[in-house]
Each structure stands twice: as C-alpha cells, then as structure tokens.
C-alpha cells in the first residue's frame, strides 16, 4: 500500500477526530457534572455554525477585511452568543427539572433540540448555507510532488488540530488549577456537600453548560470555515458522533473526550478508506458497543467501583 495514502488517511482522521473531540467536550462536561446526557448539544453546535456565517457576513458588510481581525472577532462573537444559547438551554430545560426523575431532562432536551432545529429552519430558511472560502492554502509533503503522491493538510485543517489541542489544554488547566475548576470538581463529586460548603452549584452547572457551548462554538466556527457549508440539520449526526467519541474516551474525562474523538475519527477514516464507506457508521457503533461491554469506562474514564 502506498505510504502517502496511509498518511493522508491519518491526517483525515485526525482532523475529523479533532472536531468530534471539541464537541464531545460539551457532552463529557455536562455528563460529568450532572450525570445527564445533553441531547441538545448537537443543535448548539449547529447554532454556532449559523452564527459564524452571520458574523462573517456582518464583518464583510461593515467593511472590516483584515483577516486576523475578522477571524478573531467572529470566533469571539460566536463563542459569546453560542454560550448564551447554552446557558438558556440549561435554564429552560434542565434547571426546572433538577430534582425530578432522571429521564425528564432527557425529554425536555430532545424537545429543545426540536425547537432549535425548527427555529433555525423558519428564521434562516431550509436551504444550505455557507461561508466563502477563507485562509486557503495547503502544506504538502513532499512539497513539490507532481504525481499526486503526497500527504497534505490545509491551513484550516491544521488550525483545527492546533486549536483543538490548545483549547483542550486551556480547559484542562481551568478545571485542574483554578478556583472555578475546583468548584466544578467539588460539584461533580457531591453536589449537596459542595452546596453546603458555599459553592453555588446552580451557577457552576450553568458555567459548565456555557463552557461546553463555547467549545461547541469553537468547533462550529472551525468546521464551518473548513467545509464551507452547513444546514439546520447538521447538529443531529454530529451530536451522535461526538457523543460516541465522549463515551469511547471515557465520559466525564476531558482529555478522554479528545482522545475518543481522535480515535473515532481515525477509525472512521481508515474504515471508509480501506474497507467500505457504506458500513463506516456500523463499524463506529459496533466499536462503541464492544468497547462499552469490555471497558465501560472508556480509555481514560475512572472505572466505576461497585460500592456495596
């Protein structure tokens, strides 16, 4: 087999996996702190894709053309507004149901995702939307290959990988070394006790939703720039895939989410590239099931000890 093809599939998988990882963070954080699956998270990602395109168009309309300013500005705005959506989802679908049975928030989250999907469809139209190409260019190895025998990564793709790693590092640092992170971890361990010790757990839970949404916004921003198009339906599939990644990595673990994403991305790429793309998703889900049966805690999750 051609080594460049193999290398290229590695790159493909890595890039895809990084986006999965970024979205998986939202699932893993929410699950870690309240033990619930946030089914509306995929739609939050979808919202962020729309916001990216809207703000990009807005900057162009206003007349700001300096690329770094535009990109940074769009990223920050997208993160802010997506975070606001994340916060609202928590306030509407989760907080009122804090003390009810475990499944009620699941249903309300599914309701929220229906609302968000259709809200976007009605307000922005059902057709595909997109952004014009930005930051075009590509690294190739070897750089001057003529016969298509090269491994390449576009600037945007490398940006995805780098940003994913950096933001993951920042997030991990926040959780591990700041007062906020300590409060998060305390809430995760024992919500009632944390509350008694003066941690405003409601606020911490809100913060976690906000952080998860912000990470989804980063993913939405990068993915939108990279693939150039999206529609109101992209949240569903991406949500399921990212969720799979979170579980593979060990739900509740931040580095695990990233690792799970990359593993899933690589697995999909290799399967589609070397076996059959028809059954790519079957393979991904089978992997998930097998993994859960033999190692339910994922790669980096802490194995649950059965307390008697």
């Amino acid at each position: 087999m051609d080594i460049t093809i193999f290398g290229q599939q590695c790159v493909n998988g890595l890039v895809l996996g990084s986006t999965y990882g970024l979205i998986a963070v939202g699932y893993t954080m929410v699950y870690g702190i309240i033990g619930m699956i946030n089914f509306a998270h995929g739609e939050i990602y979808m919202i962020s894709a729309y916001l990216t395109a809207i703000f990009l168009a807005l900057f162009t309309t206003v007349g700001i053309h300096s690329l770094p300013v535009v990109l940074l500005g769009v990223l920050v705005l997208t993160m802010l507004f997506t975070a606001l959506y994340g916060w609202s989802v928590e306030r509407i679908a989760y907080r009122p149901l804090r003390h009810s049975n475990r499944l009620a928030p699941l249903i309300s989250a599914i309701g929220i995702s229906l609302i968000l999907q259709n809200y976007i469809r009605i307000s922005q139209g059902a057709r595909n939307q997109g952004v014009p190409p930005v930051l075009e260019g590509v690294f190739r190895l070897p750089p001057d290959s003529l016969d298509h025998r090269f491994v390449q990564i576009t600037y945007l793709q490398s940006l995805i990988v780098v940003v994913a790693l950096v933001s993951m590092a920042i997030l991990t640092w926040i959780i591990q070394h700041t007062a906020l992170g300590r409060a998060c971890r305390a809430t995760q361990q024992d919500r009632i006790m944390a509350n008694l010790l003066g941690v405003n757990t409601d606020r911490i839970i809100s913060t976690v939703f906000v952080m998860g949404a912000a990470m989804a916004a980063v993913a939405g921003f990068l993915v939108t720039l990279n693939y150039g198009s999206f529609d109101f339906y992209i949240g569903f599939l991406m949500g399921i895939k990212a969720f799979t990644a979170a579980v593979l990595g060990g739900i509740g673990s931040l580095p695990g989410a990233m690792l799970g994403g990359v593993v899933l991305g690589l697995a999909e790429s290799f399967f589609a590239g070397f076996v059959n793309s028809d059954y790519k998703d079957v393979f991904a889900f089978s992997l998930l099931i097998l993994f859960l049966i033999f190692r339910p805690s994922g790669f980096l999750g802490v194995p649950e000890v059965e307390k008697v």
């Binding site: 139209g125 997109g130 952004v131 190409p133 150039g228 529609d231 070397f274 790519k280």
Partner: protein, 375 residues
C-alpha cells in the same frame, strides 16, 4: 349596561352574517394538495415545490381560475418520512377532499402515498420523484412531471464514457431511494457500455467530511466520479476532491441542480469540472422566461423543482378545464391521451404515466458559479 345589552344581539347578527356571507362571496374553490418535505432535512426542496405551486395558483387565479372557480392549494408536509406521507395522503383525500395532488418529492414517500391516492382515485403528479419503480407499478392515476433515473443514468453514463473518455469511473451515492436509484442506473448503463466501475459505495447523508473517501478515490486513480445524491453532500464532496488535488470531473443528476450547490461547496471556485443531468433548462424556454423574471422580482431564483411544480399545477388545471370533471380517473384518462402546454414546453405521457420524451441533457458548471448546457 343597557347599551351593552342592546349591542349583543347586533353583534351576534353581524357575526352570523359574516359567516353566512363567506362561502357565497366566491365560488367554491378547487382544492389541490401540494405534498412535500416542508420540514426535516429535505425542506429546501419542499420550499422549491411550494414556491412554484403557489406562483402557479396565483397566476391561474388572476386569469380567472379553472372552470370559473379559484384554485386553493393545501400544503401537506411529509418531512420525507413514509409514515407521515401516508397519514398526510389520507388527510388530503378524506379531510381536504382534494381533486389532485402535486407531490410528493422523496421517492420513498411517493411510493407510500401513491397507493392511498390510487385507492381513492385521486390524480397524483409528482414533480420530482425519479425512482423508476414508482411508475413500474402502473397505478392508473399516477404521473410524473420529471424523468426517470434510468433515463438520467443513461445520459450520465454515455457522457462519462463517450465525452469524458473516462476509464476508471467511481460511482457514489447517498444511500437514499433517489441517490441509490440513480447510481444503480448509472452502473447498469456502464456495464452495457462494456465498463466496470472501479468503486461503488455509499456515503452518509448529513455528513460533511468525505476526506477519507476522497483519498480512497485518489488511491484508485478514478478519472471520473459519478454521484447519485443531493447538493448538500455533492458540494462538500467536490470541494474536498479539489482540496486534495483531485481534478477528476464529478458528474451527478438533478439532485444538485441548484445554485445552492455553490454555497454548499463553499465557493464557486471548486465547481470547475462538475457536470449534471437535468431536463432542458425551463428557464431558457421562451414560455418560461417571463415567469422566471416574475420570480426574480420577488427575490427568488426559480431553480430545481420550482418550475416543475409550477408546470404540475398547470397540468392539473388544464386537465380539469378540458374534461370539466373533477374525477381523478377521468383526468388521468385525458392526460394519457393529450399533451399539455406547460411553462416547460409541451408535455405528454405514456401509459405508465412517464413523460414520453426524456429531455435530459448535460450541464456544466464553471468557476463563476454558473452552469450551462454542454454542447
């Protein structure tokens, strides 16, 4: 207090008058159902359907309606789910008492819903379902305003083999009734031309990352790619091909016939070397030009199935006008024997309900985001 008491009967009288007047004010409208995916992942095609049908009804009503009665459209959403399609079909038949239906869009929903219409003897003309099986069942009241996938596949395969001189053809599809039907037709024709495809695979609808597949296409050195599917996947696919340095042409069917393809590919620059089959562009036919202008004035580009659904409503109206009847079987009988002048030119149907003339031609995209017929 007193005045209020006196006011009440007056008010009631007024209300009753209002209700009583309403039906007699205008002639009983002729109801036509417009069924398609107005929500869900295929809503963009539903939008095209509705716009076309709406415009047709407006125009016909402005010209005095049919049999002197106005046309009333009933919007029926099937979300491209067979389950909803059969519910919606029986609702159109039983509740709304429609005379005819323009729809559905997705081949799978047309399959389910058509039995209901056939049972009730309601005329059904689908502007967009191209899967061959639909008319092969020979339901008496079912017609198509579009071609069949096998016709499209023939045009596509001939083009790929004869014009593009491709020898390593990869056939992809999106695993939908439509996309796979198209890819199968392509494959069959390729075989009869003495070629074997180098790859036949499906990709997942709704995904945006096909890089792994593209790398695979590169590794098997495909010199032409045929894709059965919609623009929402074709766009990212062609973009990723170009980004990975693949210049092989991408050939597809009517599912990508939309300027939204430019947006879904993320820019017109990626579209060089993209071809597609579609009926002769209705926007170029003389009768259609004025209409296209009217659409554009309202800020809507009438593409894809917009004019198809316009023509569908026209056809239904023509049949009603000619037969003076509202019975589906009579309308169908008439349509089987008579051509209809539509905005897309004259159309005539064979015994199965397929168009007699398949007018599929090949279009080519340029890097400005425009397309035109290949000579």
């Amino acid at each position: 207090m007193q005045s209020a008491k006196r006011l009440l009967p007056v008010l009631a009288m007024g209300m009753m008058l209002l209700f009583a007047c309403q039906p007699s004010g205008a002639a009983e409208p002729i109801r036509i159902g417009v069924a398609g995916p107005f929500t869900g992942s295929d809503a963009s095609f539903g939008e095209q359907f509705w716009r076309g049908a709406e415009q047709a009804a407006t125009d016909l009503n402005a010209a005095g309606g049919v049999l002197g009665r106005p046309i009333q459209l009933i919007k029926a959403d099937d979300a491209c789910e067979p389950k909803q399609a059969s519910a919606v079909a029986s609702r159109l038949v039983d509740r709304d008492k429609v005379v005819a239906v323009a729809g559905h869009f997705c081949s799978s929903t047309t399959m389910t819903a058509s039995t209901t219409y056939a049972d009730a003897g309601v005329l059904m003309i689908t502007p967009g379902s191209t899967n061959p099986q639909i008319t092969e069942r020979q339901l008496p009241t079912l017609f198509r305003m579009c071609g069949r996938d096998d016709q499209q596949g023939v045009v596509g395969a001939d083009f790929v083999v004869k014009k593009l001189k491709a020898t390593h053809v990869a056939v992809l599809h999106d695993k939908t009734t439509y996309g796979q039907g198209l890819a199968d037709a392509m494959k069959t024709r390729l075989h009869s031309l003495g070629q074997t495809e180098v790859l036949y695979e499906g990709l997942t609808r709704g995904e945006k990352d096909f890089n792994a597949l593209v790398t695979k296409l590169k590794s098997i050195q495909a010199d032409a790619v045929y894709f059965g599917g919609y623009h929402s996947e074709a766009g990212p696919l062609v973009r990723q091909m170009r980004e990975q340095g693949m210049t092989a042409p991408l050939v597809s069917g009517d599912g990508i016939f939309s300027e939204v393809l430019v947006v879904s590919a993320g820019g017109p620059g990626f579209l060089k070397g993209v071809y597609m089959t579609f009926g002769a562009d209705p926007r170029k036919i003389a009768t259609g030009k004025a209409l296209v202008e009217r659409f554009r004035q309202n800020g809507y580009e009438p593409e894809g199935y917009t004019l198809y659904s316009y023509a569908t409503i026209q056809t239904i109206a023509a049949a009603i006008q000619a037969t003076q009847s509202q019975e589906g079987e009579k309308l169908a009988q008439w349509l089987h024997g008579h051509p209809v002048e539509t905005v897309m030119g004259p159309k005539a149907w064979d015994a199965k309900g397929d168009l007699q003339v398949s007018d599929y031609v090949m279009y080519q995209w340029d890097d400005k985001g425009k397309y035109q017929e290949v000579e």
